[in-house]
């Protein structure tokens, strides 16, 4: 068997790349190899949020364009991913953070037309009477942000890719990347060699291990995160709310279109694990924090819990493309640090251009892997959850 391109990993990133590759070049022989079932990784376990408000310019630009593609996905693929743009609301409790938001707004967000709204505590209380805000300094509202059904985006890509004779193999973990001299030769699956001219590693939290096997060390750390939903109630939490009190441990909470209240906290962080279990620690920490912020949730009941991995890179920004020092034909798209779902459409779009035409768009340049070698890290700190 010989392919033009093999994609390792059937998450939203791998599938988006597959989708755009096939769109650009329908005759190409492309296969996705997925260790379990498509979406098994973070792609169907995430919070399904999209936002444009990052703290670094490259991420803001990337996210804005990705959002645009995401919103047109419905008409493009025929899958309605139920976009809901309800905004993000950050609750800020210290002066320093406040100033950072102010300056980022002035220097970056406004520049790209996504300036945020600053609210003083009384405004926040008036607009969101259900919040117990404590000693709030300010609220920051980003109106472009919202959510989109993550499963449907993942399936839309897969479905359309397969319609064009793209091949998706499930329960077929890639055991090894084959390198011949300074070229990628293919992959090994179930002990068999499958040849390909190009191989794209989009294996989420597993990417580090796969790359390490061929001697490339990416600065990535997987961290398990847990999420839960409460029984549905009438829609009242309109934006995604992020409580930035130190002891709220990065609490975020929102409501899904079904009315279920969904949220998480940043604690405890379990590193490098692939067992998608849940803990009492998470449940009790989250329960304490969220009932402090929204006391009316006290009597609501937890319906469901799950977990998935963030794949955190050293500068909290993704890694895409290739390093010229790597074997030829080897590409990555990984390290999305908790925001890969929203970045998937533009990733797929740019990666397809790069893989097919060797074209490096300026928007993707900052995310190339050589930034670690060259010490050109992205100044991104905004990781939510």
């Amino acid at each position: 068997m010989k392919y033009d391109i093999i994609i390792v990993g059937g998450g939203v990133i791998g599938l988006s790349i597959a989708y755009y590759l096939k769109k650009e070049s329908p005759s190409m022989k492309i296969a996705v190899y997925e260790a379990k079932y498509i979406g098994y990784g973070a792609s169907t376990r995430n919070g399904s949020h999209i936002r444009v408000h990052f703290w670094s310019e490259p991420n803001v630009v990337f996210a804005i364009k990705s959002r645009k593609l995401m919103l047109s996905l419905g008409s493009e693929t025929g899958w309605n991913p139920i976009p809901y743009i309800g905004g993000y609301l950050w609750l800020i409790y210290d002066e320093e953070t406040y100033q950072t938001y102010r300056s980022t707004d002035k220097d970056i967000w406004k520049k790209y037309g996504v300036g945020v709204e600053f609210m003083d505590p009384s405004e926040v209380v008036e607009k969101y009477p259900y919040l117990n805000v404590g000693r709030l300094i300010a609220g920051v509202f980003g109106r472009e942000d919202g959510k989109i059904h993550h499963d449907f985006v993942t399936y839309a890509y897969a479905h359309k890719f397969m319609e064009k004779k793209g091949i998706i193999n499930e329960y077929t973990p890639v055991q090894k990347i084959l390198i011949d001299g300074n070229r990628v030769k293919g992959v090994i699956v179930s002990g068999k060699t499958i040849e390909a001219r190009k191989v794209v590693i989009a294996a989420g939290a597993w990417s580090k291990r796969i790359m390490k096997d061929i001697g490339i060390d990416l600065p990535l750390t997987p961290a398990r995160k847990e999420l839960s939903v409460l029984e549905p109630v009438k829609f009242f939490i309109k934006p995604l709310i992020i409580d930035m009190r130190e002891d709220s441990r990065g609490l975020y909470v929102c409501q899904t279109p079904r009315g279920e209240v969904m949220g998480s906290v940043d604690y405890p962080e379990i590193r490098g694990t692939y067992e998608f279990n849940n803990t009492l620690k998470y449940l009790s920490t989250y329960a304490k924090a969220v009932t402090r912020l929204i006391p009316s949730l006290r009597k609501l009941r937890v319906l469901r819990v799950w977990s998935g991995d963030y794949n955190i890179s050293i500068d909290h920004s993704h890694i895409m493309g290739r390093d010229e020092e790597w074997p030829e034909g080897l590409y990555v798209a990984t390290g999305y640090s908790g925001h890969g779902f929203m970045m998937a459409p533009y990733t797929g779009y740019l990666m397809s251009k790069y893989i097919l035409n060797d074209y490096i768009h300026r928007d993707m340049e900052p995310f190339l892997p050589n930034r670690f070698r060259e010490g050109k890290l992205i100044k991104e700190v905004m990781v939510i959850g």
Binding site: Y37, G39, G78, N132, K234, A287, P295, V305
Partner: protein, 578 residues
């Protein structure tokens, strides 16, 4: 409780509404059916209070909305209005072309929000109150389930240690199915009192919530407290979990298993079921009928073949109508009245108005009679009760002392269960306490005996769990020949009663998108993402997928039904110590 009669349970809302002929309004517009009759009823009557007759959670009140709905109900429009949304969040919905239009979509979402009978949470909650405190259990043995199996095992174990705690999910009483059948039987009373005298604690209203990574917890739902468990060995004795059968027109169920019937009538005090048909077969029919006669329920029993001698004597003695050699059954239902047409090969014809049809287990000799009701698929129960057994896979199962005990009391005579429990208790003692030369029965032999005597039933029980793992316990499953089921036309029957996933949604997922893995069906249709977390619907869905795709169960797979078993309040979790 100290050995007196268990207190009668007040009727939960679900039951009351049904009695009034009103469809359940629970969490969403989709849930007009008494989805998970067991679940709802079981959530405890306190929490489910009648407010204006139509509220479900006393902590969540939206009077205006309730009044609106009552108005709509009175106009008789409700079912139309609600039905028109019925597969709204299931697979059928997203794909409807019309919703790709942005305007239509936004109007539609607005409308949903307007008409959703979701209540608002209680906004008056104060942020400053304290949380309910956590309860700690520290014992050698923890037994989950106070049915005959759990009690009997406790009895045996108590010969070795008194450090035993029993968690019972029901709010009052113990005895599980045996109590359900016989009220508060002497045997159970004696056993219970004996255990009490020995200082063994039974905690009622305590539901084991599943296996979290860092803790085993249960939920005491009457006081809304988290129970943290520290035990050397855990014994799961939660019996069987009833899986809703897929019958046509059964979305407001009137066809259910005898177990469910007894629960509704005997436990939850459901009084609207006045007359019905029982499809006879096996087991403790006489005891069940005792209970029903006592409650004044009018019964007709039907048999595919001849009634067993034992049954016949009983029925004659009590003057109960029965029909043998039934050939044909047809149902029709108008809005309220269910009609049943029964033909026997002896030329008898019976035309009945019924409130219910109850069947004894499908493995009974009379499954062909059940088939006449044109069921799509029927599965009664799965072993292990409501506990997500697959969480026992891997290292937890092997390294920790966790044992599965008991076989559904509904289908086996009490003596069999007692015997089995005793054997198992001794096995557990030898293992958990590391008794080298302990005199144990040959566990494997006992196991095999049950396996062979009740082969088909047993296969049905474990099939679902087997999909999770390649654990040795399940290796006898005959994958090529799964339990017999009835064939029928695909139609609009509900598979997932929480998320309104229809049979045809599953068929469509397969036919149009080529989806046949359970994980995909779950994500695409929403199946199993409601309260039951797949406990109700997965097995049925797996069978449908197996039938339409020809894939094996192991390939189709089963997703995890995680914590919690019973939805648990946030404040009870906030009360957990750091």
């Amino acid at each position: 409780m100290d050995g007196d009669e268990p207190e009668p349970q007040s009727r939960p809302l679900s039951v009351k509404l049904l009695e009034d002929g009103i469809y359940i309004l629970s969490k969403s517009f989709k849930f007009k059916r008494p989805r998970g009759v067991r679940n709802l009823a079981w959530w405890g009557s306190e929490r489910i209070e009648l407010k204006n007759g139509y509220n479900i959670n006393p902590n969540i009140v939206d009077e205006k909305l309730i009044n609106e709905i009552v108005k709509i109900k009175k106009l008789g429009l409700s079912s139309k209005l609600i039905w028109s949304f019925r597969d709204s969040l299931g697979a059928g919905f997203y794909h409807k072309k019309i919703f790709r239009n942005k305007l239509v979509w936004s109007l539609f979402t607005k409308m949903i929000n307007k008409f959703l009978p979701y209540p608002y949470p209680d906004m008056s909650q104060s942020p400053n109150t304290t949380y309910p405190l956590q309860i700690n259990i520290d014992s050698k043995f923890l037994i989950i389930g106070g049915g005959i199996s759990g009690l009997k095992i406790a009895d045996e174990l108590s010969k070795e240690t008194r450090s035993i705690v029993i968690l019972e999910g029901e709010k009052y009483g113990v005895g599980g199915y045996a109590s359900l059948l016989n009220g508060w039987p002497k045997k159970i009373q004696t056993l219970y009192n004996k255990l009490r005298r020995k200082g063994i604690k039974v905690i009622n209203a305590a539901v084991f919530q599943g296996f979290l990574e860092d803790a085993y917890i249960a939920y005491k739902y009457d006081t809304e407290q988290t129970i943290k468990i520290d035990a050397d060995a855990i014994i799961i004795a939660t019996g069987g979990y009833e899986i809703p059968p897929l019958f046509e027109n059964n979305d407001l169920p009137f066809i259910f298993s005898l177990t469910t019937l007894l629960k509704l009538i005997n436990k939850y005090g459901y009084t609207r079921l006045r007359k019905g048909v029982i499809i006879g077969g096996m087991g403790d029919l006489d005891k069940a009928l005792d209970t029903l006669i006592e409650k004044g329920v009018n019964i007709t029993v039907i048999y595919r073949n001849q009634a067993p001698q034992k049954d016949r004597e009983y029925l004659d003695k009590h003057g109960i109508n029965y029909v043998e050699e039934v050939e044909k059954i047809r149902t029709s239902d108008t809005l309220r009245v269910k009609k049943l047409l029964i033909h026997s090969s002896r030329g008898e014809k019976l035309n009945l108005d019924v409130d219910f049809v109850a069947y004894t287990p499908i493995v009974s000799p009379d499954k062909e009679v059940v088939a006449q009701l044109n069921p799509k698929y029927v599965f009664d129960t799965r072993l292990g009760g409501y506990i997500p057994l697959h969480n026992l896979s891997g290292e937890i199962f092997r390294d920790k002392n966790i044992y599965l005990s008991g076989i559904s009391g509904g289908y086996f005579p009490i003596d069999t269960i007692e015997k089995y429990a005793a054997i198992q208790a001794r096995y557990i003692i030898s293992k958990a306490l590391n008794y080298e030369n302990y005199d144990i029965y040959d566990f494997a032999d006992a196991f095999n005996e049950i396996k062979s005597r009740y082969k088909e039933l047993y296969q049905a029980y474990v099939m679902m769990d087997a999909a999770y793992q390649d654990s040795k316990v399940y290796e006898y499953i005959d994958w090529e020949n799964p339990p017999t089921l009835f064939e029928g036309d695909a139609s609009s029957i509900f598979v997932c009663h929480d998320m309104d996933v229809l049979y045809k949604d599953i068929v469509r997922s397969y036919k149009e998108l080529g989806m046949w893995r359970m994980e995909h069906i779950k994500r695409y249709t929403g199946l199993g993402t409601g309260v039951c977390q797949g406990r109700d619907c997965q097995l049925n869905a797996a069978i449908i997928l197996n039938r339409i795709s020809g894939k094996k169960f192991l390939e189709i797979g089963i997703f995890r039904s995680r914590y919690p078993v019973m939805p648990q309040t946030l404040e009870s979790l906030a009360g957990v110590e750091e």
